[in-house]
């Protein structure tokens, strides 16, 4: 911030609250769901990342279809055999194609889907900051101004300031 420009308390408080909220959301997003404990939870964790082949808008975890049920059984067997969720997922995508994955892989063209939201958020933040700067710029000292921020006219002496305030008040009353 340039000197002479003062951020109003409300704006600072709002910015603080937004920052804390964004931080909390980012933490949750980065940590993801807690590590599943029971076998059921572990199967669910894998199944919820796979698309059900017969009812395309549900995950394998949520679909009641027979094929999804069989896929859950397969996942449980493979987990018991010591395969990692990543290996199981790549096994399914070898059979069904990457289509079966509900989240696109983080490489190649699919990376766009992961990065675009970040760019959008960064762009929105930038635009927000620019807008706030423009709005608050109206309250700073400029070459042609018809209002004077008395508190920020620091070069005045206390006596000058009192005189100025009185003059301004008188002018305001006169105009009413």
């Amino acid at each position: 911030m340039r000197s002479g420009r003062r951020l109003p308390w409300s704006a600072a408080a709002l910015a603080g609250v937004l920052l804390v909220a964004a931080g909390a959301l980012a933490m949750v997003a980065l940590r993801g769901p807690s590590t599943p404990g029971t076998m059921n939870d572990r199967v669910r964790a894998v199944a919820s990342t796979l698309r059900c082949p017969v009812c395309q808008n549900l995950s394998v975890a949520d679909s009641p279809s027979r094929l999804a049920q069989q896929m859950r059984t397969t996942i449980a067997e493979e987990l018991r055999a010591g395969r990692t969720p990543e290996q199981i997922r790549s096994g399914f995508s070898a059979s069904y194609g990457e289509w079966i994955l509900l989240a696109p892989p983080k490489r190649g063209l699919d990376l766009i889907a992961w990065l675009a939201p970040l760019f959008l958020v960064a762009g929105a933040l930038g635009a927000g900051i620019a807008a706030v700067r423009r709005w608050t710029a109206g309250h700073t000292v400029g070459p042609h101004r018809d209002t004077v921020d008395v508190a920020s006219a620091s070069s005045l002496t206390t006596a000058d300031r009192r005189l100025l305030e009185r003059a301004l008040r008188a002018a305001a009353e006169e105009s009413e």
């Binding site: 017969v54 069989q70 069904y96 079966i100």
Partner: protein, 193 residues
């Protein structure tokens, strides 16, 4: 945006910034619209099988009559047609004559046709076969494991595997006789040589 006349002067460079911003936004929107148009113009139900050109997943399954176990690898060097079907599936009934005709035409040339009922009760499968005929081996796929390995969405689905053990063709939906014949013929000459 309404501005006080006195603030007009120092905002000249900002004007240009605003055009850059507006241009960027419009460009972005145009790009997204084009992406959407491209996405909408494609048929989402057509999904190319990743198995094409890859080794066919191996399986070892009991026949429906329980008489023997059939393993895919025992047919290496032959053209293998695998047909996933179900007794409750209308398209399977429609395609059945095509499969029967292909079987009759190629069974003596070393072409193997295997049927795998999918999401079906064994008793229903047997009734269906008794009704419609078909002497090619029918295999029981417990837990639909083989179907999942082949990436089957529903029935009917048909795979043609070349003598090299690679998946050469996949058909989602009922097979068309001429189409199936073409696929088999395409793979046969190498086998005879």
């Amino acid at each position: 945006m309404q501005r006080h006349p006195s603030t007009l002067e120092p905002t000249r460079p900002r004007r240009r910034n605003r055009w850059v911003l507006v241009g960027g936004l419009l460009g972005g929107i145009a790009l997204l619209t084009m992406l959407l148009a491209f996405g909408l113009s494609r048929d989402p139900t057509v999904i190319k099988s990743p198995l094409l050109g890859k080794p066919a997943p191996e399986f070892s399954l009991r026949t429906l009559d329980g008489s023997r176990t059939v393993q895919l690898s025992q047919f290496r060097g032959q053209v293998v047609v695998i047909n996933f079907w179900a007794s409750w599936c209308i398209d399977c009934r429609v395609e059945h004559p095509a499969l029967t005709a292909a079987w009759d035409r190629y069974r003596d040339q070393g072409v193997v046709l295997l049927g795998i009922p999918f999401g079906d009760r064994a008793a229903d499968s047997r009734t269906y076969l008794a009704e419609l005929g078909g002497a090619w081996p029918q295999l029981v796929d417990p837990g639909e494991r083989t179907a999942i390995a082949y990436g089957v969405y529903g029935v009917p689905e048909t795979f043609v595997i070349g003598p090299d053990g690679l998946v050469a063709y996949k058909r989602v939906g009922g097979v068309v006789y001429g189409d199936l014949i073409d696929q088999i013929e395409r793979l046969l000459p190498g086998q005879q040589a």
